[in-house]
Structure formats: structure tokens, C-alpha cells
Amino acid sequence: MEPVTDLFARYEVGPVWDEMFLESGAARQVASDLHATLRSLSSQDLEDRCAERDRSFRDRGVTFSLAGEERPFPLDPVPRLVSAQEWSVIERGVAQRVRALEAFLADIYGRGQVFADRVVPRRVVATARHFHRAAAGIAPANGVRIHVAGIDLVRDEKGEFRVLEDNVRIPSGVSYVMENRRTMGRIFPELFASHRVRPVADYPAQLLSALEAASPRGRSGAPRVVVLTPGVHNSAYFEHTFLARQMGVELVEGRDLVCRDNVLFMLTTAGEERVDVVYRRVDDDFLDPVQFRSNSILGCAGLVNAARAGNVTIANAVGNGVADDKLVYTYVPALIEYYLGEQPVLPNVATYRLEEPDTLAEVLERIDQLVLKPVDGSGGYGLVIGPHATDEELVTLAAAVKASPRSWIAQEVVGLSTVPTKVGGNLEPRHVDLRPFAVNDGRTVWVVPGGLTRVALPKGSLVVNSSQGGGSKDTWVLADPQSEAPEPATSAPEPILSHSSHPFDAGPQVGPGASNGQEQQQQQARTC
């Protein structure tokens, strides 16, 4: 029997890949059960479930900071489905990418063989803003620099997943993957009964295991791991507390840490305790005032040399940002072949390097048809989508690109795939991307089966970043129908609530009138 109101009444599949519907209008096989369930719902049913969702998020304080304001994290009620077959490609491709980038980082902060072999020009690395010379010569305990990666994927017009950018500095968003799942379990229990959804709740355990494996004292030495946060004002503070709680480790700020003789200690009411691994959510520039910004109080003085001395592991490693550089991105397929001897499983998006004058001229010629991105940005900041920009914006952009071609790349506009998304009382197609998260413990690169699907909420928009007002979806990776042994129950397990994440008082405060000073000597010799 047809429902009174059809949620899909206003659903018009566009020229891009729609993940629920075929061009014919019939539902794709992977989404047929979901489609049937949604068709049986009224607008009011959906509203009721959204109200339940909002209660759930509010109760647990799952928020996101947008333009300085805390808002409930925007979760669309319709899950995004990924078949087992599609997932196996993503999983292999993401793990492959992480392995290649690990090799690349080890190389450029070491011998630089990749330059000698002319795979990547030295220039590209030496002029990358996040290439940190202070990281040269630091050999991480188990060889891992990318303990956590978030590789952003998009699905093109043909349904093929492509890598949009690599995030191997401080990728965030995984807490929302787990919170979204929990909430979906509350609002759509029947869908979990009809779908075999692979669980995402293993993530904290996998992360903790990888961090422990990175301890300079080895896994057996009961390594102490801490999560270092810049503090409550950071937009991802919720995630920092979440991960510390889920892993059962301390959440610390810079003032809780002290380095002495290149050994890192945490200050607690019970005295000092040695720290082996710092899962830091503080940017490189603020991590150690001796090496980077001397006025930073978010990090810990001496931390980088403690890592250099092999007494502590910084996760992710200092200097990883060079691998996120969007000009370096254009070389990643070549790096995969060079380091791994493999063909890339996931292709890049067609990208142009602007340092070649001919390419630059061609790009400027059709700048209104391309996407221009700053090479060292993340979170969508500074990105310009030509077809959506005003003439004035394009003029400004062209001038900026001409002034500094190294600072930009150009990409073809990818018609991102669409997924049914609640808009008012209906479901409409909206563009999405996908950020799967990978954890490297030095032996295996594990990819959490799921990931953060981000949705561009305005009609036709291609900007999905949550920092730019995008929404999210729960990503359901379906278990292989051939596999006999299903994984453990999938209905959003309760998180393990560990002891309080911040049991000790603040560390020693700098007294009134005290300051952090910087000491330097000008070189001022003259001659006689």
C-alpha cells in the first residue's frame, strides 16, 4: 500500500551519480531495503525521529562549533550505504595511500631518496609551508608517523571513488562517526535489523592499541598514553574528551606536562608520571615553544627534542603536514608506484600544477570552470569553486594565483554523488563526500568500516565541510552477504565509560607578573 505522503515526491536525480537511484528511477540494489523502509514513512514519522535524534545529541552534549557558536552536530536521519564490494576498494585504497605517505615522510625527513630518484622535485617539499625542518632526523619508535589518517574521498559521475585530499596531520571527525551511529541506533532500530551494518565502535580500542604500539618502551612496558588538547575553546574539544574517555586515558593540556632531560612527565595530584605517547590535537606550530612559536602556551617546551631523543612518541608526528600539501597530493599516485610498486587503487581527482606557465595560462583562461584550492589549507578554507563564484571573486582569485602559483592547485569540478537527504518535510538529493579514518599500528593499516559522510545542505552546493556549515550522515558499510560469520551486534553499542578524564588539578600556574621569555643574541660582529 502506498503511503499517504511520499517522502521522495520531490526527489529529482541530477546528472551526477545518485547513490540510491538508478537513472531509470529504480532503487539501486544496495539501497533497495532502505528505500522501501523510507517509502513506508510519512513526513511526520521522519520528524518524530529527528526530534528523537536532537534529544539524543543534546543529552550527550554532542556539539560542533561553527563561527564561534556551539550547535548540535547536524546529522541527517537517512544513512548512507556502502556495499561490501565498494568498501573493499576504499579500504585497500586508503590503506595503500597511508603506507605510501608513511614511506614518503620517512624519506623526506631522512635521506631524501625520492629527490635523488627524481620522483618529486625537492622544490615541492622544501617550499611546502608545513615541511618542518625541526622534524628532520626524528625516528619514531615503531616507524609510524601517521597514527591516524583521514583520507577525503568523493564519488564521481561514474560512481568511482576518488581521493580529494589527504589529512595526516590532525584529522578530526571520528567522534561523530561513533556518535552518529549511536543516535541512528536509537532512531532507526528497524533498519539495523534489516541491514548487516559493520560496527564502528572498535575505533577507540584500535587507536589505543596503535598508540601503545608506538611507545618507545614497547607495548609490553605498560605505556602511558595521553590526549593533548588545546583546551575547551578548540572546535574539536568534544572529540578530544570523547576519545580520551573512550580510550580510558588522561586528557591533558600543555600546562599539565613538563619535559625534563628529554623525558616527558604528566603532573598529577599524586606526583609526576612518565608519559610515553602523546596523542596530540595541538598543531605543530603550537606544540613546542622551543622549536616553533615561542609564545605558545598550548604545547610543552622540550617536547620535540624528547621525541628526538627517543623518549616519547608524538602522534601524529611533527611535520606530517607536508604530505597534506595539495601540490604534494598531485604526486601521490607516483609515490604509490615508487614506494610500494603498486598501482593506485583510488585515483586522484584531475589536478593541475600551476608552476608550469602553460598550465597556469590554461587554468586562468577557464578559471570559472575549475576549483581552485590553497595548497596548505584544510577544512575548505580559501577554496573557490569557479562555476559558483562571482566575477569579482574570480578576478581577485586570478590575481592571487598569478602572484603565487605555488600556493594553489586547480581541479576539475567533480560532480559529487548525491544521497537522499531530509530537506523540510521531503527527501532531496544532496552532494556528499566521505572521510574514512585509518589507524596505523606499524603492522597493519586498519580502516574503520564507515567514516564521516559530509553533506552539502544547500541545493546544488558542493561544499561539505562541517566548518563551512555542512551536515553529516551515518555511513553504513554493509557486511559481505557471502560471509557467514557476522560481526558482533551492530545496534550502536554503549560506549565504555571510563574513569574521569581529567582527575587532577591544573598544573603549576605561571605566577602573576611572570612571563615566558625568549632569549636570542643578535649577530653583530664588525670588522677592524
Binding site: F115, P121, R122, R123, A126, T127, R133, A134, A136, G137, V258, C259, R260, D261, N262, P289, V290, S294, A301, G302, N305, R308, A309, V510, G513, A514, S515, N516, G517, Q518, E519, Q520, Q521, Q522, Q523, Q524, A525, R526, T527, C528
Partner: protein, 281 residues
């Protein structure tokens, strides 16, 4: 002919109220090179601290230490003995411009061909540099740019600070060796000659008497790539030789700062720096 030179670099920091802790990195150990042998080097610290030594990205020996006892003063004495000589002269047929513009050279020295905060590019400076280089071989251009800097900057201590950029020094027409070196690397890079900032010590007396201790200061000069690194001292125009003790190279001062430190506590009251050089043989 070579010299044996003893260097003593003493830094004394006195704090208004006691410093609770401090973290420090020194780049004061002379560098071994074709024209320089390092015979001895030692470091004395008061309060005492364990020293951690490593080589940085540029190959410079870095000594790092932290002090965790409250202290009113910190004294650092870096001593070394080196044997120095003049570099072998450049061959008559040094590289021409096309050799410097070669893609491999440009790539190898990419980071020494671009502007930095201390050595920014500027259209006026570029014009001057091009003017100096016009009609000259690269080796001749290096010499002329050194002269250009010397003719535009007057040596005057106290007119610039550790944070002054080449452009600021240029605008005011004066500075110290750090400013001379920054301006020189900026000009060289703007005509496509890879250039690196060099830090070290300079014995002030050409006719040094063996055994005489002479007061000096930390010094900075420049090396330009002319098929190999060729040093020039833009502050005084003298050839770089036995009197120059090389410590470190980098893009600018920030890569080679002899002393960087972070401390927690009262304001810095006084900084005393004393460099004493002695020709030993």
C-alpha cells in the same frame, strides 16, 4: 697557510626574579669543512645540566639542555679550537648563468633561492641586484653585490635588532653584520644565485699575534653557490679565510641562531655576551 684559533663564547643571562625553568638550544659548535678542522669543542653550563646533542636539518651540531632548578642567572660558555685556512680559489671559468639556471641546480637549492622573513624580495632590491649583475659572470656578480651592500649599509651597532629584516636595514641604511648578510642573500637570490646565511666568528686582526686574546663578537657572512660554495664577507669586504670560524649555514638567522631559549620566570634583566678569540698557532 692555516691558523689555529681558540674561540670562547660566553653568554650570561641574569633574570629579575628567579627563572623556574629554561629550555635552550645552542648552535655554537664549529663545522668541519674543507677549509676548517675542528680539534676541540666543549660546553660549560651553570647551573649544570645534561646536554643532548644532535645534528639538525642543515648539518649543524645542536646542543640542547634544560634547567629545572630555580636560577637567578644562566651562564653558557662554548669553547672550541679549530684549524682554519682560506678556501681554494675559484677556477677562472666558474659557472655561467645557464649553469646556475639549470633545472637540477634550481631544484637542489630551491630553499636557498626563495625569500624569507629576514631576507624578503622586493622590486627595488631586485632592480639593484640585476643592475649589479648585468654583464658580469656569476662570480663577478657575487663580488659586485657584496660591494653594493657595503656601499648602501653603514655599519652601526644599535640601529637594528635581532628581528630586523634586510628590507628594514636597507631602508635605514645601516645595520650590523646580520643585516649585511641578510641583505646580501636576498640580493643574490633575486638574481638566481643560491645563497646561504653563515654564522660563526671572525678574528678581528689580520696580523694576529699568537697567544693574544682578542675581544670579538659572533659574526655572520654569506656563501654563494658558484659550482661550489664560495664565501664572502659583505660587512667588511675582506676575503673569507683563516680569520673566519664557520659554525652554521641556513636560509637566514632563524636557522642558525646561536642561542635560542625559553624560560619561565621573571623578566630578563641583563644579557652579557662575550666572544674571545685567540690565535693559537
Amino acid at each position: 697557510m692555516s691558523w689555529r684559533v681558540g674561540t670562547t663564547h660566553r653568554s650570561h643571562y641574569r633574570y629579575g626574579t628567579r627563572a623556574l625553568s629554561s629550555y635552550n638550544e645552542l648552535r655554537m659548535t664549529p663545522k668541519a669543512s674543507e677549509r676548517q678542522r675542528v680539534l676541540e669543542s666543549e660546553l660549560l653550563l651553570e647551573p649544570a645540566a645534561a646536554v643532548f646533542t644532535y645534528r639538525d636539518y642543515w648539518g649543524t651540531v645542536v646542543q640542547s639542555f634544560d634547567v629545572q632548578v630555580p636560577h637567578e642567572a644562566l651562564e653558557v660558555v662554548a669553547r672550541s679550537v679549530v684549524e682554519t685556512s682560506a678556501p681554494a680559489p675559484l677556477p677562472e671559468d666558474g659557472p655561467d648563468w645557464s649553469a646556475l639556471r639549470d633545472e637540477d641546480v634550481a631544484d637542489r637549492f630551491a630553499e636557498l633561492l626563495v625569500p624569507t622573513a629576514y631576507a624578503p624580495f622586493n622590486p627595488n632590491l631586485a632592480g639593484l641586484a640585476r643592475g649589479a649583475a648585468e654583464g658580469a659572470t656569476p662570480a663577478e656578480a657575487v663580488r659586485r653585490i657584496g660591494e653594493l651592500v657595503r656601499s648602501h649599509l653603514r655599519y652601526e651597532a644599535g640601529t637594528t635588532a635581532v628581528t630586523t629584516s634586510a628590507l628594514q636595514a636597507w631602508a635605514q641604511g645601516s645595520g650590523v653584520c646580520q643585516d649585511f648578510a641578510h641583505l646580501t642573500v636576498a640580493l643574490l637570490r633575486q638574481v638566481g644565485i643560491p645563497a646561504r646565511y653563515t654564522s660563526g666568528y671572525l678574528h678581528p686582526k689580520k696580523a694576529a699575534v699568537v697567544g693574544e686574546r682578542v675581544s670579538a663578537a659572533s659574526h655572520a657572512w654569506v656563501e654563494a653557490w658558484l659550482g661550489r660554495w664560495w664565501p664572502l664577507d659583505p660587512t667588511n669586504g675582506d676575503p673569507v679565510g683563516e680569520r673566519h670560524v664557520t659554525v652554521a649555514h641556513g636560509r637566514d638567522y632563524s636557522d642558525v641562531a646561536p642561542f635560542i631559549g625559553i624560560y619561565q620566570g621573571g623578566a630578563l634583566l641583563e644579557l652579557e655576551v662575550e666572544v674571545v678569540l685567540e690565535r693559537l698557532a
